[in-house]
Subunit: 338 residues, 2 copies
DNA sequence: AACCAGCGCTGAACCGGATAAGTACCGAGA
DNA sequence: TCTCGGTACTTATCCGGTTCAGCGCTGGTT
């Protein structure tokens, strides 16, 4: 079942390959009558441009790359990436761009994937996520000359185009809210300390707490899994100066924390208030429903894709600050019982 | 920053393009000395084969397609797809195949994506998921002649290669287990009735219940979201003949159901046993931890990818039955209180 | 009538590799 | 010494598009 080429169309229409090419691409150089005839034939035999042949003529690859460097078992748990991907997709699909996805084991593998994709002309650009402190990937992709958008804070993006949201503001809003409710012992169960956004949130949390007179603040780092979230919660709740509020860095840890509290007969929200970063359906199906930091994650991905496509087109390449996460108050937060 | 071609290497090495091609592909026809020289130059200038040029010579596209047809908000919630994808990836990466991913709105869009990818030689094959009853996609991809593996039951896969697991057996095991515990009123909160696997599980559930004397069995269909899971649970728990056990079709609905039960002061597991299909970390972070139907989802994806690669290579193309989900008993199931 | 512009098309080169066919050279065997 | 066979290359062609130069024809201008 050989797929038809323009040569087939040319033969059937009795014209040259060149004429067919002009006709199919809406270029001048053929009469309307001939164009219509050619289009009719192309449609009839189900012709599609051979993508490789087009690409060989210096055309775009019409694909962008995304390499995710997290173990499979972490990836699945958080809705975050799937939502980011669907947002990216929505933007790409509108321009008929495809997304090349690869789950890799480490940053080295990630870079070699990018190098391969770029070297082979398989992608026109890429999106970098999960920035680390002093991330070696940034100078490396800079050197490659590949268009890249970073989903993360500009401070770590080097000369690459960043798309980010002001996590610091969200942290401050959360601490302010908890303080206004009357909390004075607030803790944070954070993600991996090497991630840039963790560092930024940590910093903002410490600063806000100090500033607002939250004396007993503390941060525990985890790997984002429910187990570690549960363990951190157990540690916090069994300490002598038990916190009256805990802010979690993702939804799964918040849910795990809630369960631990219930297990230890710590009432939520009377004895303990809980806030989850990244509000998700998960926050709304547990009892009490969790107060969360809501953001439009698909939009976040879509904006990154937009910027990347602009970059590829050589157009506007400025940084983009997305709106900061908003606090959505639900049943898991309340003034602490005296 | 022009990317180097074999012509550049040929010029530097003082040989012809052909010799370079032979050297780089490990073919005979060049001396070891020349080969080493050419490889050294290629390595030094960072040459990569232009993927389009290779593809144009009839080579494989070295990519497979996956179009997911579920709204973004559903996709994110279930860990299932992300885990499937990481499993597929693991298999593809080993063979340097890429995954083209697209999230589409409906089956029509999905088919036009496949048609485009295949017509443009962008993929060598595809994986079909979420089979419907009388799915129009099956005859359509059959007609296209594209290698396709179906993740779903053979009965709906037509002439395509199916990779599936015996959901019926898992349902029977679950019902047997609940009956052995003493339950006689068991209900099922299912996914979308049009999906093939929902129909299969429904059927197996009804049959098993009838056979084992579960008189009060009932099935409620939902869209897999937590909200609908909660609503279904509320309905079941407020009916006069309240079930003593509910089996949910995914983890998020099971968690939602657990919350509803706690809200209604229905004790789990004393008054109500809960079983979740697709055991996930989520099941283990709630209290009580949920009894779940465990399966190795990444392996499921990996097997599909394996079969697809074999199919593309023209090799073994038989169907593959994965192992059936196993029941993992946890705290959410127990004999019903009299 | 001579000239030119523009239309509508053809023919050929080109993109970067793979590969079949051809050639120059060397050493071994008759 | 001549041939044969193999090695180590070169040359040319092909894949399926795009694109550029050129060519014949027509119609309008001078």
């Amino acid at each position: 079942m050989r797929r038809p080429t323009i040569a087939d169309i040319a033969r059937q229409a009795g014209v040259s390959k060149g004429a067919v090419s002009y006709a199919l691409n809406g270029q001048r150089g053929v009469s309307e009558a001939t164009r219509a005839r050619i289009l009719a034939i192309a449609d009839e035999i189900g012709w599609r441009p051979n993508f490789a042949a087009r690409a060989l003529n210096g055309a775009r690859a019409h694909a962008v790359g995304l390499a995710l460097c997290r173990p499979a078992r972490f990836l699945g748990v958080e809705p975050f990436f799937m939502e980011v991907i669907s947002g990216i997709e929505a933007e790409l699909a509108a321009r008929s761009y495809a997304l090349l996805l690869q789950v890799v084991a480490d940053h080295e593998a990630e870079m070699s994937i990018y190098r391969r994709w770029w070297g082979e002309h398989r992608v026109d650009g890429a999106i970098l996520v999960d920035l680390h402190l002093d991330d070696p990937r940034v100078p490396q992709v800079e050197a490659m000359g590949m268009p890249v958008v970073v989903m993360g804070h500009p401070s770590a993006a080097g000369s690459l185009v960043p798309v980010w949201s002001d996590d610091g503001a969200a942290v401050r809003e959360t601490v302010e809210y908890l303080v206004a409710l009357g909390h004075r012992r607030v803790c944070r169960v954070a993600g991996m300390p090497r991630l840039v956004h963790t560092a930024i949130r940590d910093r903002a949390f410490s600063d806000a707490c100090t500033q607002m007179g939250v004396t007993g603040h503390q941060i525990i780092h985890t790997d984002y899994t429910g187990e570690e979230g549960a363990r951190a919660t157990r540690r916090l709740l069994s300490s002598p100066e038990r916190p009256t509020a805990i802010v979690y860095d993702n939804d799964i840890m918040a849910v795990a924390g809630l369960s631990v509290a219930q297990e230890l007969r710590v009432r939520v929200p009377a004895d303990l208030s809980i806030v989850a970063w990244d509000d998700s359906p998960l926050c709304q199906v547990v009892r009490p429903p969790l107060t969360g930091l809501t953001r439009d994650i698909p939009a976040y991905g879509a904006h990154a894709a937009q910027r990347l496509l602009a970059l590829i087109d050589g157009g506007d390449t400025g940084p983009l600050e997305d709106e900061a996460p908003r606090l959505t108050a639900r049943g898991s937060t309340a003034p602490p019982d005296a």
